[in-house]
Symmetry: C2
């Protein structure tokens, strides 16, 4: 049995139901902890599930921030210092990662509140998450405001990557499943993955095959 | 053992290696087939793995297009007609979905080339993919060019949703895992999922728990 919803159905949902519904229908999402430092050196950590690949050369990644939410501390810190970290979630830390979305006041670091460990390296002023297996350092490139709803797209350049050496293939593929990275759906559902297959480069005169 | 890469390491990779590497380090991604129709009524289907949630009210979704790739047909059609469909992948159609990325000439529909079935409904001029289990109809809102690499962000409004009725929870959560939707990593790796847990709304004075 199928169920259909028109735009009028969707707009008639109550706010919480609509947020839950719309957040889950786009598909599984990239989820990561963003670590930042404020100008007065306080650390901040927040979970984001709207990361997207923009390009490889230069290496660019984007994500969405709602400026009126707990995410405002992350936004302010990125604009103040220009740098931040992206840390993959795994099964050992997803509950703590989710908990960083609680409305902690500015003077409380989510690292302390959730018992995740700050790690500093590679000259980055922003904190990495020690318990994460894949960690990226990035710097701010551009801020784009979406007029329709006031959210902000942050475009950033990847400047540093750390990963388990046994997860890197000879062709540059990083096996994030082997690294234990997980995905999420909606606002609060976390999922591990099972590789189905990698497929060959698609060409007009042959059918993509498993590699 | 960990491996570290600086921006200079990343820029020194060859192009194919860098594309494979950077595409996989951001995390698991939303992947969907975008169906469009040109002004002269030819249909087009292309796989995209850069979809991201922007907001629920109004329901907005974004994705990235590289205008110099096979994706240019999708871009042209969306700008010409203003409407398109988003269709989740599942294990039965992921090979065909991947194959839509081959460089078929404009006069060949990827539906024909990959034996996926066009489906028209809900007044949408653009084709849905019959074999997909979760289908969205969307209309164009805004086009944003990213100066750094010439890619284009398409911002769009969700106007129609179809899903299996047994996948919709009482709180609006759509269980896309139960619907058979899959995720991807990098340019060519497809993965099914295993739910770990849904977690309660995070609050400062309690720890997020399974719901």
């Amino acid at each position: 049995m199928k169920k259909e919803f028109t735009i009028n159905d969707i707009l008639s949902f109550n706010d919480r139901y609509r947020a839950t519904f719309i957040n889950s229908i786009g598909g599984f999402k990239s989820v990561a902890l963003i670590g930042t430092k404020s100008k007065d050196m306080g650390s901040n950590l927040a979970v984001f599930n709207s990361l997207f690949h923009i390009g490889a050369n230069p290496p660019l990644i984007g994500f969405v921030i709602r400026p009126n939410s707990v995410e405002r501390h992350t936004l302010r810190n990125i604009l103040e210092t220009g740098e931040f970290t992206l840390n993959h979630l795994n099964e050992n830390i997803y509950k703590q990662a989710h908990q960083t979305a609680a409305r902690y006041p500015k003077q409380i670091s989510e690292f302390d509140a959730t018992h995740l460990t700050e790690e500093y390296k590679a000259g980055f002023p922003a904190p990495f998450v020690k318990e994460s297996h894949i960690k990226l350092g990035a710097s701010f490139v551009q801020k784009i405001e979406i007029q329709e709803n006031g959210t902000i797209l942050i475009i950033s350049k990847i400047k540093y990557v750390e990963l388990p050496s046994n997860c890197l293939g000879t062709d540059g593929f990083v096996d994030i499943e082997q690294a234990g990275s997980i995905t999420c759906s909606g606002l609060d559902s976390y999922h591990s993955t099972n590789k189905i297959a990698r497929l060959s480069y698609p060409k007009v005169n042959s059918i993509a095959a498993e590699i």
